[in-house]
Protein backbone atom coordinates (compact mmCIF):
# COMPACT_ATOMS: atom_id res chain seq x y z
CA UNK A 1 0.00 0.00 0.00
CA UNK A 2 2.84 2.36 0.81
CA UNK A 3 4.32 4.45 -1.93
CA UNK A 4 7.99 5.24 -2.49
CA UNK A 5 9.67 7.45 -5.04
CA UNK A 6 13.47 7.45 -5.04
CA UNK A 7 15.26 9.75 -7.40
CA UNK A 8 18.69 10.65 -8.62
CA UNK A 9 19.89 13.02 -11.30
CA UNK A 10 22.96 12.50 -13.44
CA UNK A 11 24.06 14.28 -16.59
CA UNK A 12 20.69 15.86 -17.28
CA UNK A 13 18.72 12.65 -16.73
CA UNK A 14 16.52 12.31 -13.66
CA UNK A 15 15.65 8.74 -12.77
CA UNK A 16 12.79 8.09 -10.35
CA UNK A 17 11.94 4.61 -9.14
CA UNK A 18 8.26 4.27 -8.24
CA UNK A 19 7.20 1.54 -5.85
CA UNK A 20 3.80 0.63 -4.40
CA UNK A 21 0.51 2.40 -5.05
CA UNK A 22 0.26 5.83 -6.61
CA UNK A 23 -3.18 7.16 -5.68
CA UNK A 24 -4.88 10.11 -4.01
CA UNK A 25 -2.80 9.89 -0.87
CA UNK A 26 0.59 9.46 -2.50
CA UNK A 27 0.28 11.76 -5.51
CA UNK A 28 1.56 14.75 -3.57
CA UNK A 29 4.69 12.84 -2.67
CA UNK A 30 5.52 12.28 -6.33
CA UNK A 31 4.73 15.90 -7.14
CA UNK A 32 7.34 16.98 -4.60
CA UNK A 33 9.94 14.63 -6.02
CA UNK A 34 9.23 15.91 -9.54
CA UNK A 35 9.52 19.49 -8.32
CA UNK A 36 12.86 18.69 -6.70
CA UNK A 37 14.45 17.01 -9.68
CA UNK A 38 13.15 19.60 -12.12
CA UNK A 39 14.81 22.41 -10.19
CA UNK A 40 17.83 21.77 -12.39
CA UNK A 41 17.91 21.66 -16.18
CA UNK A 42 16.87 18.25 -17.45
CA UNK A 43 16.97 16.54 -20.80
CA UNK A 44 15.16 13.44 -19.73
CA UNK A 45 12.98 12.07 -16.94
CA UNK A 46 12.99 8.30 -16.56
CA UNK A 47 10.34 6.69 -14.37
CA UNK A 48 11.04 3.07 -13.41
CA UNK A 49 7.58 1.59 -12.94
CA UNK A 50 7.98 -2.16 -12.68
CA UNK A 51 7.23 -2.08 -8.95
CA UNK A 52 4.29 0.30 -9.28
CA UNK A 53 1.27 -1.87 -8.54
CA UNK A 54 -1.57 0.64 -8.77
CA UNK A 55 -2.17 3.93 -10.55
CA UNK A 56 -5.36 5.94 -10.07
CA UNK A 57 -6.31 9.19 -11.76
CA UNK A 58 -4.72 11.14 -8.93
CA UNK A 59 -1.43 9.41 -9.67
CA UNK A 60 -1.86 9.90 -13.37
CA UNK A 61 -2.36 13.61 -12.76
CA UNK A 62 1.05 13.66 -11.10
CA UNK A 63 2.54 12.30 -14.31
CA UNK A 64 0.66 14.89 -16.34
CA UNK A 65 1.90 17.50 -13.88
CA UNK A 66 5.46 16.37 -14.51
CA UNK A 67 4.91 16.61 -18.24
CA UNK A 68 3.50 20.10 -17.96
CA UNK A 69 6.20 21.28 -15.59
CA UNK A 70 9.09 19.96 -17.63
CA UNK A 71 7.75 21.14 -20.97
CA UNK A 72 7.89 19.57 -24.38
CA UNK A 73 11.67 19.75 -24.60
CA UNK A 74 12.17 17.13 -21.90
CA UNK A 75 11.62 13.52 -22.86
CA UNK A 76 9.70 11.42 -20.34
CA UNK A 77 10.35 7.68 -20.44
CA UNK A 78 8.17 5.19 -18.55
CA UNK A 79 9.98 1.90 -18.11
CA UNK A 80 8.46 -1.47 -17.32
CA UNK A 81 4.89 -0.49 -16.41
CA UNK A 82 2.79 -3.45 -15.29
CA UNK A 83 -0.04 -4.36 -17.70
CA UNK A 84 -2.88 -2.77 -15.70
CA UNK A 85 -0.91 0.41 -15.10
CA UNK A 86 0.08 0.57 -18.75
CA UNK A 87 -3.56 0.10 -19.76
CA UNK A 88 -4.60 3.09 -17.64
CA UNK A 89 -1.90 5.23 -19.22
CA UNK A 90 -2.91 4.19 -22.72
CA UNK A 91 -6.64 4.62 -22.09
CA UNK A 92 -6.15 8.26 -21.26
CA UNK A 93 -3.85 8.87 -24.21
CA UNK A 94 -0.96 9.89 -22.01
CA UNK A 95 1.22 7.31 -23.78
CA UNK A 96 1.29 9.71 -26.74
CA UNK A 97 3.07 12.29 -24.62
CA UNK A 98 5.75 9.97 -23.29
CA UNK A 99 7.92 7.05 -24.36
CA UNK A 100 6.86 3.71 -22.95
CA UNK A 101 9.58 1.08 -22.73
CA UNK A 102 9.81 -2.51 -21.65
CA UNK A 103 12.29 -3.07 -18.84
CA UNK A 104 15.85 -3.38 -20.08
Amino acid sequence: MAFEAKSHVWDGTATVRLRGELAAKSAGQLNRVIAEVSAQPLKRLVLLMDELTYLSSAGLRSLVFAHQRLGRGVEIVLVGAQPEVAETIRLTGFDRSVVMQEPV
Binding site: M1, E21, A23, A24, K25, G28, Q29, Y54, S56, S57, A58, L60, R61, V64, F65, H67, Q68, R72, P83, E84, E87, T88, L91, T92, G93, F94, S97
Partner: protein, 173 residues
Protein backbone atom coordinates in the same frame (compact mmCIF):
# COMPACT_ATOMS: atom_id res chain seq x y z
CA UNK B 1 -0.46 17.56 6.22
CA UNK B 2 -1.62 15.23 3.54
CA UNK B 3 -5.34 14.56 3.84
CA UNK B 4 -6.19 11.09 5.02
CA UNK B 5 -7.14 8.66 2.30
CA UNK B 6 -9.31 6.15 4.11
CA UNK B 7 -11.59 5.46 1.19
CA UNK B 8 -8.94 4.05 -1.14
CA UNK B 9 -7.83 1.22 1.17
CA UNK B 10 -11.46 0.37 1.98
CA UNK B 11 -12.25 0.05 -1.70
CA UNK B 12 -9.17 -2.11 -2.17
CA UNK B 13 -10.15 -4.44 0.67
CA UNK B 14 -13.75 -4.78 -0.52
CA UNK B 15 -12.77 -5.55 -4.10
CA UNK B 16 -10.10 -7.99 -2.97
CA UNK B 17 -12.77 -9.89 -1.07
CA UNK B 18 -15.25 -9.79 -3.96
CA UNK B 19 -12.63 -10.84 -6.47
CA UNK B 20 -11.63 -13.81 -4.35
CA UNK B 21 -15.23 -14.96 -4.01
CA UNK B 22 -15.95 -14.49 -7.68
CA UNK B 23 -12.64 -15.81 -8.96
CA UNK B 24 -12.13 -12.62 -10.95
CA UNK B 25 -8.92 -12.50 -12.89
CA UNK B 26 -6.33 -9.88 -11.99
CA UNK B 27 -7.21 -7.48 -14.79
CA UNK B 28 -10.93 -7.43 -14.01
CA UNK B 29 -10.36 -7.09 -10.29
CA UNK B 30 -8.00 -4.21 -10.94
CA UNK B 31 -10.50 -2.41 -13.15
CA UNK B 32 -13.32 -2.82 -10.62
CA UNK B 33 -11.08 -1.49 -7.88
CA UNK B 34 -9.93 1.45 -9.96
CA UNK B 35 -13.44 2.44 -11.03
CA UNK B 36 -14.80 2.17 -7.48
CA UNK B 37 -11.83 4.10 -6.09
CA UNK B 38 -12.37 6.88 -8.62
CA UNK B 39 -16.07 7.27 -7.85
CA UNK B 40 -15.56 7.14 -4.07
CA UNK B 41 -12.53 9.44 -4.11
CA UNK B 42 -14.40 11.86 -6.35
CA UNK B 43 -17.23 12.07 -3.83
CA UNK B 44 -14.78 12.91 -1.05
CA UNK B 45 -12.57 15.36 -2.92
CA UNK B 46 -15.16 17.13 -5.04
CA UNK B 47 -18.45 16.35 -3.32
CA UNK B 48 -17.15 17.45 0.06
CA UNK B 49 -18.84 14.60 1.89
CA UNK B 50 -17.80 13.10 5.19
CA UNK B 51 -19.41 9.74 4.52
CA UNK B 52 -19.02 7.29 1.69
CA UNK B 53 -20.79 3.96 1.97
CA UNK B 54 -19.39 1.00 0.11
CA UNK B 55 -20.88 -2.40 -0.42
CA UNK B 56 -20.50 -5.10 -3.00
CA UNK B 57 -22.12 -8.24 -4.27
CA UNK B 58 -22.04 -10.88 -6.92
CA UNK B 59 -24.29 -13.25 -8.79
CA UNK B 60 -23.72 -15.84 -11.49
CA UNK B 61 -22.67 -13.37 -14.12
CA UNK B 62 -21.66 -10.14 -12.46
CA UNK B 63 -19.67 -8.60 -9.63
CA UNK B 64 -20.52 -5.11 -8.44
CA UNK B 65 -19.62 -2.35 -6.03
CA UNK B 66 -22.14 0.24 -4.87
CA UNK B 67 -20.82 3.63 -3.79
CA UNK B 68 -23.24 5.89 -1.92
CA UNK B 69 -22.75 9.40 -0.63
CA UNK B 70 -24.87 12.33 0.48
CA UNK B 71 -23.15 14.94 -1.66
CA UNK B 72 -25.20 17.23 -3.91
CA UNK B 73 -26.65 15.37 -6.90
CA UNK B 74 -23.89 14.23 -9.20
CA UNK B 75 -24.43 11.85 -12.07
CA UNK B 76 -21.05 10.39 -13.08
CA UNK B 77 -22.48 9.45 -16.47
CA UNK B 78 -22.51 13.12 -17.45
CA UNK B 79 -18.74 13.55 -17.61
CA UNK B 80 -17.23 15.15 -20.68
CA UNK B 81 -14.80 12.83 -22.50
CA UNK B 82 -13.39 15.79 -24.41
CA UNK B 83 -11.66 16.80 -21.20
CA UNK B 84 -9.51 13.71 -21.38
CA UNK B 85 -8.82 13.72 -25.07
CA UNK B 86 -7.32 17.21 -24.98
CA UNK B 87 -3.55 17.62 -25.11
CA UNK B 88 -2.26 17.30 -21.54
CA UNK B 89 -0.34 20.54 -21.97
CA UNK B 90 -3.57 22.41 -22.44
CA UNK B 91 -6.23 20.67 -20.44
CA UNK B 92 -7.34 21.42 -16.94
CA UNK B 93 -6.81 18.67 -14.40
CA UNK B 94 -9.85 16.62 -13.56
CA UNK B 95 -12.13 14.42 -15.55
CA UNK B 96 -9.57 11.64 -15.65
CA UNK B 97 -11.11 9.76 -12.75
CA UNK B 98 -14.58 9.63 -14.22
CA UNK B 99 -13.15 8.65 -17.56
CA UNK B 100 -11.27 5.75 -15.95
CA UNK B 101 -14.35 4.69 -14.01
CA UNK B 102 -16.38 4.55 -17.22
CA UNK B 103 -13.67 2.84 -19.20
CA UNK B 104 -12.93 0.15 -16.67
CA UNK B 105 -16.30 -1.39 -15.96
CA UNK B 106 -18.85 -3.20 -18.08
CA UNK B 107 -21.80 -1.30 -16.62
CA UNK B 108 -22.13 1.93 -14.67
CA UNK B 109 -25.49 2.78 -13.11
CA UNK B 110 -26.52 5.86 -11.24
CA UNK B 111 -29.57 6.84 -9.27
CA UNK B 112 -30.43 9.64 -6.90
CA UNK B 113 -32.37 8.13 -4.08
CA UNK B 114 -33.27 9.44 -0.63
CA UNK B 115 -31.02 12.47 -1.17
CA UNK B 116 -28.06 10.24 -1.85
CA UNK B 117 -25.97 9.53 -4.92
CA UNK B 118 -25.85 5.83 -5.62
CA UNK B 119 -23.39 4.64 -8.26
CA UNK B 120 -23.12 0.97 -9.12
CA UNK B 121 -20.05 -0.34 -10.92
CA UNK B 122 -20.39 -3.73 -12.54
CA UNK B 123 -17.83 -6.14 -13.95
CA UNK B 124 -19.02 -9.19 -15.85
CA UNK B 125 -17.63 -12.44 -14.62
CA UNK B 126 -15.68 -14.41 -17.13
CA UNK B 127 -17.78 -17.45 -17.82
CA UNK B 128 -16.07 -19.95 -20.01
CA UNK B 129 -18.53 -21.16 -22.61
CA UNK B 130 -16.33 -23.37 -24.74
CA UNK B 131 -18.04 -24.11 -28.00
CA UNK B 132 -21.39 -23.12 -26.59
CA UNK B 133 -21.65 -25.94 -24.10
CA UNK B 134 -24.25 -24.59 -21.69
CA UNK B 135 -23.59 -27.21 -19.05
CA UNK B 136 -20.10 -25.93 -18.47
CA UNK B 137 -21.01 -22.28 -18.56
CA UNK B 138 -21.62 -22.00 -14.84
CA UNK B 139 -18.94 -23.44 -12.60
CA UNK B 140 -20.03 -25.67 -9.75
CA UNK B 141 -20.48 -23.84 -6.53
CA UNK B 142 -21.45 -20.56 -8.13
CA UNK B 143 -25.05 -20.97 -7.07
CA UNK B 144 -24.31 -20.61 -3.42
CA UNK B 145 -22.72 -17.26 -4.07
CA UNK B 146 -25.62 -15.89 -6.04
CA UNK B 147 -27.68 -14.82 -3.07
CA UNK B 148 -29.44 -11.49 -3.50
CA UNK B 149 -28.29 -10.23 -0.14
CA UNK B 150 -24.65 -10.94 -0.78
CA UNK B 151 -24.16 -7.22 -0.80
CA UNK B 152 -25.24 -6.99 2.80
CA UNK B 153 -22.66 -9.56 3.84
CA UNK B 154 -19.96 -7.62 2.16
CA UNK B 155 -20.82 -4.18 3.48
CA UNK B 156 -17.82 -2.48 4.95
CA UNK B 157 -18.52 -1.97 8.66
CA UNK B 158 -16.30 1.06 8.91
CA UNK B 159 -18.32 2.74 6.23
CA UNK B 160 -18.27 6.11 7.88
CA UNK B 161 -15.18 8.18 7.54
CA UNK B 162 -13.96 10.08 10.52
CA UNK B 163 -15.83 13.35 11.08
CA UNK B 164 -12.60 15.28 10.93
CA UNK B 165 -12.49 14.72 7.20
CA UNK B 166 -15.86 16.40 6.75
CA UNK B 167 -16.10 19.24 4.34
CA UNK B 168 -12.55 18.99 3.06
CA UNK B 169 -12.44 19.61 -0.61
CA UNK B 170 -9.75 18.66 -3.03
CA UNK B 171 -7.83 21.17 -5.03
CA UNK B 172 -8.23 19.36 -8.29
CA UNK B 173 -11.01 21.70 -9.45
Amino acid sequence: MTPADPVGPRVAALVRDLAARAGLDRARAYRLRLASDEIATNAVTHGGVDTVSLCGGLDDTRVWVVVEDNAPPFDPRTYDPEVVLTDPHEREPGGLGLFLAHSGVDELHYERTANRNRTTLVIHRELSVPGGNPESSVPDGTAELSVPDASAELSVPGGTMEPGAGGRRGTGG
